[in-house]
């Protein structure tokens, strides 16, 4: 083992040790959203994420992902569940929000609410805000065919 290897090894190990994972499974009811957001905010606050990332980027984007999962994916049916996996380390937060719906086309469904024809619409800002406020938004099917939206936020 050459001494030159140590810094890299140490930092890789630190990265693993510093990572924190929270997992959550809730019935589809929008009344849970705020408390779930607060729990993940607490997790990120412990990882020194700044106030703006907690109160704007994370709070709004996660609220959008959860309400879409509850209302769109699961049709507001409390018998269906939403699963949340949040992994945070000093570099980034990655959240996966899984619903029991059939999924959707992320690009097709994302509107631009800032065009003159859209700016006074009442809906259609959710995916747009998620993509503006997160560094990365992805959608995929998990192994069981359930819809997953993955949000990534780089710590600043």
């Amino acid at each position: 083992m050459s001494p030159g290897n140590e810094p890299a090894r140490r930092s890789a190990r630190d990265g693993r040790e510093d990572a924190r994972v929270i997992e959550l499974d809730i019935p589809s009811d929008v009344q849970y959203i705020e408390k779930v957001v607060e729990l993940i905010q607490r997790e990120c606050a412990l990882m020194q994420f700044g106030a703006r990332q907690l109160m704007l980027n994370l709070a709004v984007a996660l609220t959008e992902a959860l309400s879409n999962a509850i209302l769109r994916g699961n049709n507001d049916d409390p018998a269906k569940h939403v699963h949340v996996l949040a992994r945070v380390d000093p570099a980034r937060l990655v959240i996966e929000v899984q619903d029991q719906g059939v999924g959707f086309d992320l690009d097709q469904c994302t509107l631009d609410p800032t065009t003159p024809g859209n700016v006074d619409r009442e809906d259609g800002r959710g995916l747009f805000l998620m993509r503006q406020l997160m560094d990365r938004v992805e959608r995929f099917d998990d192994v069981r065919g359930n819809n997953v939206v993955r949000l990534t936020l780089i710590r600043q």
């Binding site: 929008v30 959203i33 705020e34 959008e64 609410p113 700016v119 006074d120 809906d123």
Partner: protein, 110 residues
Amino acid sequence: MSFAITKEAEVVVVDVEGQLIVGNRQELKQKVLDELERGEKKFLIDFSQTGYIDSSGLGVLVSLSKKIREQGGELRLANLNDDLKTLFELTKLDTLFQIADTRERALESF
């Protein structure tokens, strides 16, 4: 999360305490529509005690602004913090609403 309604001179002032999100936006909508039905015309929504707003909260504000205008009334917003300002700018809703820095300025502007 609650909505405190007070009357200052001719203006109905609503303080949004906590979040304005999918779980409680209907309550705000109903409270303002009730006042509108009672004949009130001037509305100010004050966000000094607000945490965050989601897209459905923004949607309720858009809907209320239309309904108030239809009745010949006016809606003003006040006291957006930096995070909320960003939210309105990202969605260009800062071009749709009349937004004042302080409650006093908003009240004067009617």
